[in-house]
Symmetry: C2
Subunit: 697 residues, 2 copies
């Protein structure tokens, strides 16, 4: 599964060292292309396909970003949309209860009245792109210190966004591309009323569970349908994708539109080594901690398992992904390839006096910035990125504490996430009615506090304040059971009281957030001014050097913004075995039988009952070479005609190395075939209401 999620997003923000070195020719189907710089020539030359502007615009406006960390697309004029089950899971679990576990049992709304509203899901549709590079880059002058440059750039971005928001009412984000070589203003239509229409049972959405995750063959119906609402009515949308029941065949050209979360393809070698040797292992360790913790919690009883389900899935998924990234970073052959391409560019720069003078110091700057990062990243991750405190309650406490503080500053001076144009999104999360479970919060916070003590040591002044004389487990219990932040009204009241209310609050979680905030901000400032800003400037130089020394179309590393990919429907060879381009519905039954239908290889009752009615030859999942990474989960895969033929939901293990280098010898993307979706809706779920809506073109 390849969902990008909030905390991965944070991690990626930390890792954001992103640029294309186009000196090496791009591999066959490589690329996560910008919609305003699509690979028109490549598509024409390689596939004889003409990507017309209106074709692109239609796909762009049918594509959706799910801010929980995934992608989706509209499939009807009435705002019906399709994403992965593992992307929708966060929402589904928030309205599930011990009595009604919709994640496990599935759900089908037979009427619009039965559609179930998500507690806090935000979706974005990209409406326009505007280049603002001159204005953002122009705010910074070469003579500025990194600290001043960081402030000036942030002010410019916050201001551009506010102006755009005030003018258009659209969510407006300045996106950093080529790590600072380009800045573009993305305007999104935002949906905050999203309702579940249909989800299949967990066992078929994630059939094969963790063992089959990132593997092939696969047989997953990893889908769910939601509907966007506006003013309490189904949203009318101009652009949506029609599901083509003809589907794909081996060798077809297909295209993908979605939101890949982050890649590290073009980082300098020194940077990649830092990631592979230190930063990724730290986050892998964190994923393992959470997996072990949540698994132990889940095993106690069924209700615990339900409460931790989504987080446990996410931890397992992250663990497998980090292992894949690290295996690539630890592969001497991969690193050699990267080293050679870097050496080639550096030779070109060195041999040209003008390039040398303008860009020659970039690699050293990166090494210096990484040295700073190396010394602070663990503390930064624990305190600022939320590794020690990434629990619902602490996050809310921190938001309240920071909201009060940031409100007292002008918009241009604020921390990025508290800018005016982002206020609604912050409040949607802060005042979410999603349930909070004391028992789960307590074990998670205890583990986080223990991790903090491990890294900072028991004598650290901040640790002493945080623990307040208790062991991590005792302190976590006291904090979670003592806070009133579970109550939405209390949160609203605190926010309304402003700085005075926060400063005098004796709520223990608010007090904890106050204790942590100075050190946390200090680390953030150090990161932004001494790591991020120098890296941004250095990578912008490398990007410009690369542009200057190469021709040909190019794309920036992924940034959880809309991208276009393309590729071929195609199987692969592994250990002498030929893996065909698609599996079938019949194959799912065989796979279950081989495992005695035992979890996680158990098909739901509905499938077992429907077997006689099903066309077992229906393609279930299919492979392609489209270039993708986590965050793209739920992205539509379309034909040359622009019709929906499948939904991306995973890659194989071999494709995890794509974080660093695209390689289509064995790496493949995996999608649910449109035909399996239609067959299941018709024969298994009898979802006639959805089917008739999908038929309208």
């Amino acid at each position: 599964m390849s969902r990008l999620r909030a905390s991965v997003s944070l991690i990626r923000a930390v890792v954001a060292c992103v640029v294309v070195l186009a000196v090496v020719p791009l591999a066959a189907d490589e690329g996560m292309w910008l919609f305003n710089a699509p690979p028109v020539r490549t598509l024409q030359e390689r596939y004889g396909f003409t990507a017309k502007p209106q074709w692109l615009a239609h796909l762009q406006k049918s594509a959706i970003r799910m801010n929980v960390g995934g992608s989706a697309s509209f499939v009807s004029a009435d705002g019906l949309l399709l994403t992965n089950h593992h992307v929708g899971l966060d929402c589904i679990e928030k309205f599930s209860t011990a009595e009604h576990d919709y994640a496990k049992a599935g759900y089908l709304a037979r009427t619009r009245a039965e559609e179930k509203k998500c507690a806090d899901l935000e979706m974005n549709v990209l409406m326009s792109i505007e280049d603002v590079t001159p204005r953002v880059a122009g705010a910074v002058t070469p003579s500025m210190s990194a600290a001043d440059a960081d402030k000036a750039r942030r002010a410019a971005m916050n201001t551009i966004e506010k102006e755009s928001f005030d003018k258009t009412g659209l969510r407006s984000d300045v996106v950093t591309l080529f790590q600072g070589a380009e800045y573009q203003l993305y305007r999104y239509k935002k949906y905050t009323d999203v309702r579940l229409v249909f989800a299949p049972e967990a066992s078929i959405s994630f059939f094969g569970g963790d063992p089959d995750n990132f593997e092939y063959p696969r047989y997953d119906l990893d889908i769910c349908f939601f509907r966007a609402y506006e003013n309490d009515k189904p949203a009318r949308v101009d652009h949506f994708l029609w599901m083509d029941p003809a589907g794909v065949k081996d060798g077809d050209l297909i295209l993908i539109a979605g939101h890949p979360g982050g890649t590290d393809r073009m980082n300098s070698i020194a940077d990649v080594r830092f990631l592979g040797d230190e930063l990724f292992p730290f986050f892998l360790d964190f994923a393992r901690r959470r997996e072990v913790l949540l698994r132990a919690f889940s095993e106690r009883n069924e209700e615990n398992a339900r409460r931790a389900h989504d987080e446990l899935f996410f931890s397992e998924n992250s663990r497998k992904a980090w292992i894949g990234y690290i295996d690539a970073a630890q592969d001497p052959a991969v690193m050699k390839k990267k080293a050679e391409s870097e050496a080639a560019l550096r030779r070109k720069v060195e041999s040209d006096p003008e390039l040398k003078q303008k860009y020659g110091d970039a690699w050293q700057t990166i090494e210096r910035a990484d040295a700073v990062f190396r010394s602070i990243f663990r503390q930064h991750a624990l305190l600022e990125s939320g590794v020690a405190f990434d629990r619902v309650l602490f996050r809310k406490a921190r938001t309240l504490v920071r909201l009060a503080e940031e409100n007292s500053k002008s918009n241009s001076e604020r921390l990025r996430e508290y800018r005016d144009s982002n206020r609604e999104s912050v409040e949607q999360q802060l005042y979410s009615e999603a349930p909070v479970y004391d028992d789960l919060q307590t074990v998670e916070l205890a583990s986080g506090l223990s991790h903090l003590v491990e890294v900072l040591g028991l004598d650290d002044p901040l640790v002493l304040q945080v623990l307040a004389g208790r062991s991590p487990s005792a302190r976590a219990y006291e904090l979670v059971h003592g806070t009133n932040l579970k109550d939405v009204a209390f949160r609203k009241q605190l926010a309304a009281g402003g700085k005075a209310a926060i400063e005098t609050s004796d709520d223990p979680m608010i007090r904890l957030a106050r204790i942590v905030d100075p050190k946390s901000r200090e680390l953030r400032t150090a990161y932004e001014q001494r790591v991020e800003e120098p890296l941004r400037q250095a990578y912008a130089k490398i990007a410009r050097a690369s542009f200057a020394t190469s021709t040909g179309e190019t794309y920036p590393d992924a940034t959880f913004t809309l991208r276009l990919g393309f590729g071929t429907v195609k199987g692969f060879e592994e250990a002498g075995r030929s893996l065909p381009w698609r599996t079938t519905i019949g194959g799912a039954f065989t796979h279950a039988a081989e495992h005695s239908n035992q979890p996680p290889f158990d098909l739901p009752r509905s499938w077992l009952d429907a077997k006689p009615r099903l066309n077992l030859d229906t393609p279930m999942n299919f492979l392609s070479t489209v270039d993708t990474i986590g965050g793209n989960s739920g992205s539509p895969i379309v034909s040359r005609q622009g019709d929906f033929v499948g939904i991306f939901f995973d890659t194989n293990l071999e494709a995890l190395g794509w974080d660093f280098v695209y390689d289509d010898r064995q790496g493949r993307a995996i999608a649910v075939d449109v035909r399996a979706i239609l067959e299941a809706l018709q024969q298994i779920y009898k979802a006639d209401n959805i089917l008739s809506e999908l038929k309208q073109k």
Copy 2:
């Protein structure tokens, strides 16, 4: 579960910084007492119990050390013995197959012919103790460098053991007590032909699984019976314990004889902080890695789960134990208590010129040694203690490589484990016929290699040699599938060929062991000479200072040698809840029903069927205050009369802090009640053959 296992043993060897500061009065039932220095006065004063020499000798010679990492006791004159199921598991799994999973299904030999032989289990019974302090301590003079002292001491120990072995034919180990203040020669009768007589099903032995592990209430029948054989006949033993069907009652004095693996009670504060902040978290991380890896491997199918069962249990068990130890080390209150007791002793030493001159520098020496250890422990753990390579095949390769090298030295100069007196034990492991699973070995080795790269970095010369241009996963596959070491005959042939055969072997695993050995030995030498020896000398000083400033009976920290403990049958209070001293067989049925009899809360068919016949009021597990730690698993608990009344198998979470400080407010040991054993054998398993043997006094 509190089993000590080989790798924990290694860890403990690394941590061995062990001494009693008897300046603080011992807590009520504290102590893991030496059989040649039993707490005679304390038992008399506190319980009016006279521990007579023959009473002690009988218990000593009935007690067994299971070298896989646990304890046991003889229960019949024909060598029948009882231990925990989780201690016997290693043996049971080695003769299980995909078709016959005796660990899961249980086993009962109805005749002696049906008793199933363990592949490589060694058991020891302590026959005598001789003080050799003058000879070992005398080998070292104050003017010697630490390196010379280490060598001289090792030579003395190896020589004493060889002399004793040659003279008596008994396994002879010089045991370091009070971390070097005392040395004693322990002579053991050794059994290497051990056969399984009875094991219940896995689900009742470990009823409640990981969620209930280290928790209470409990309902586990964590037992199995083996029989010792000599010359292919049941061993006749003079000392065994009679199972008293009357059992215990609330408030009774009970005693325990077993082999606690290691404690860190009396380490200096600086040392404890190093353990809690760095060393324990490293091993907790390792336990989590293995747990996640083995769990993912196990979920693929039932046969994988069977293959990884014992290791997965052990990883989960370690993880819970390390978390408990670390929570204690991170508890400011616990650390304050320890700091105060250290300060009290240091004040006494400082205020007495003679003590100050003799012992005053000990604490600084410890800090210096720890500084060295801090800088090498990760590498040492990975390369020498087996964290990166702790796989069956690599271990065999290393043993072969080292055997060839060490054989060329005189006995007194060899690495400790290759001394003549230990040769049989080494060969039993090396030539074990236990099965080796390529798939499991590969994923484990891949994970270990990746861990190595993480710690040493991809540019490290040793890493470059170890990976040989492959990624960790590809290299692991190549090594495991390329080696012939799975074949016992090949191992014997290589060993017979001596150094020449090893040096010219092109077996990839042998070559790997050769590549790793120089660095690994270098780290071992650094550890022994720059960490272990200075710590030994410093702790010996602290122990002597402590002896000099206090009166009263005392005991050394645990060392996986035979100890006597005592305590009271007693419940405890937790979060306002009163937990009674025992559970019942009926409670097991209730506990299962509350969890819909779903794993790991599922009772086996045999129990469900037998329910109508069972006395549901029979005590199942009981609590006591006896002082214990991992390694004591399987230890007999006896009454004043010296009769068997239960078998220790676990503690609650609160007792994990006993690694550092004994505290009987909430900490409790948990035992299987003798009455549950007899009731189950009779009513459920119809094991009349065992029951009639147990009746003979």
